[in-house]
Amino acid sequence: MKKTSSPISKVSTEMFIQQGSWALGFLTIVLLIYIGAGIVNIIGFNIREEMSDEDFFSIAYRSTKGFMLVVGIISAYGFLSYYVRHGITRRDFFSGSALAAVYLSLAFPVATALIQWIVLLFASQDEGSTRLLQAFDNSWLLMLVSYGIQIFIFYLMGWMIGSGFYRFGWIRGLGWIAVALVLIGFMDALWQFELASIWEQWLPVTTDFSVTLPVSLAGSLAVILIALILIRLITRRVTIKM
């Protein structure tokens, strides 16, 4: 008959389409802000120096984290109730939603890189972005991997906080924000230390990545596993709000 795919793939596909459409709207806004800032700069208004130095990618990079956090929170609230109401188990929702987050975290780096590439075709490259491009030249892939992993973790943090509030209410829900802050701090330490030179100071990549990259990846994997286990524990038998 018409139903052949598993509930997990149905949930993940549907969530990805829904959240992906939000992501496109979000990237459009970021792009407009970038273009707006560029125009203002050209006209000659003195905006913040770092701002005028930034390219589209780095603006998207920082703001995507907030976006993913919010989408994660919504995942815990709107989507969980919706799917259980239509006969999906909490377990299948968990897998489907995690998978949708993976898709989203893969799609974001690809989409932003693509937009960045197009922007560079049209934009008169000012000095800042040229330098940035040179700086990333030999680690484009690494940058995208780091971007994908970090926004995935931010999604998980939002999902975990949202689930904590969903199940435990406001007072005890606050505790999950504390847990998330610890995990995000840990993740930041993993990625920002070595990449601080790029993100903060726009220096060329001269740090020896091969030493710390495995540590970053292993540490990120640990954060991801901890978050997934906590989310599953919170939502395993959770009462659905009506």
């Binding site: 139903k3 149905k10 109401r85 006969g87 909490r90 038998r237 009462t239 009506m242």
Partner: protein, 292 residues
């Protein structure tokens, strides 16, 4: 699949509040059940367990012999229709119907659209733009078109106007004929819906009060009308639900079947015997003045 519903000493507690207490029920598949209870009787708590929205605090539930909670095989066969909050829901009616169709194995999209037309639902409007009654009509569309073997409608008519409710009842009976399933209808509108019920379950203050088929339940209540003294004499030892007196004439509702001997005795004494409605039975069985 034969999905009989069985509850065995089910309790639900919220902190120190006991919403459902020791309820045991057996609902053989394929019938329309009316679940009656006053506000706060525990109807929704009980139903949310069948829908796997929560686990019982104690006791056990089986549907088709299996425990339903987190059981993918059972959960997809159980639909729980209630007053869902749509004020943030930007999906359009048609898209929302198609979305549900992906998750319900027996869903009939053509039928859902036909129902939507009957209820005058604007397919291109967002759910949050619909009026309360229209949102309820949408829920009913989903509930009927899902054709789930266990379909729970918890006050599904909220805000619907009388003509829409009439369509709802008619469609329910029609579709039940074509695709028999278990319906559990929880309601306050007893007098309006009683003709739908094959069996009636009444719960009161979280406890099971009675389960009976509609015919035998309504035949158990009778009203006895006549001269006050004769009536008083006749109802000695009977379970009195309600008394009304106008001058020397008294009308009394009693619960319990009258055997032939007492029926002829009543006639001989010049008393009038009449049926009472499910609504009257419900009111007086769960009213504060009556204690079982």
């Amino acid at each position: 699949m034969n999905l009989d519903v069985q509850l065995d000493r089910v309790s639900v507690t919220y902190g120190s509040v006991e919403a459902v207490r020791d309820v045991s029920l057996r609902l053989p598949a394929g019938k329309i059940y009316g679940l009656l209870g006053r506000n706060g009787a525990g109807k929704t708590s009980l139903l949310s367990i069948l829908a796997s929205f929560r686990e019982p605090s104690s006791g056990s539930v089986t549907i088709g012999g299996e425990q339903p909670f987190e059981n993918a095989k059972i959960m997809k066969e159980v639909s729980f229709i209630y007053d869902v909050d749509y004020k943030e829901e930007t999906d359009k009616v048609k898209a929302a119907i198609e979305s549900v169709a992906r998750y319900r194995p027996h869903f009939d999209t053509a039928y859902a659209l036909e129902l939507a037309r009957k209820f005058n639902l604007p397919l291109d409007n967002q759910l949050k733009q619909l009026s309360k009654g229209m949102q309820s009509a949408f829920n009913v569309c989903i509930g009927l078109a899902s054709r789930s073997p266990v379909t729970i409608l918890d006050e599904a008519y909220l805000g619907m106007d009388a003509p829409s409710r009439e369509i709802f009842y008619r469609e329910l009976l029609k579709d039940q004929e074509r695709h028999p399933r278990t319906f559990i209808l929880s309601t306050h509108l007893v007098s309006e819906m009683d003709y739908l019920f094959e069996e009636v379950i009444i719960i009161h203050k979280g406890r099971f009060l009675l389960q009976d088929d509609y015919e035998s339940l309504t035949s158990k209540g009778v009203s006895i009308t006549g001269p006050a003294t004769k009536v008083d004499e006749f109802i000695q030892g009977m379970k009195v639900l309600n008394v009304q007196q106008l001058g020397s004439t008294k009308a009394v509702m009693v619960y319990g079947e009258l055997d032939e001997a007492s029926q002829s005795a009543a006639l001989k004494a010049g008393l009038e015997i009449g049926p009472i409605s499910l609504q009257d039975l419900f009111i007086h069985l769960t009213g504060e003045e009556y204690s079982a």
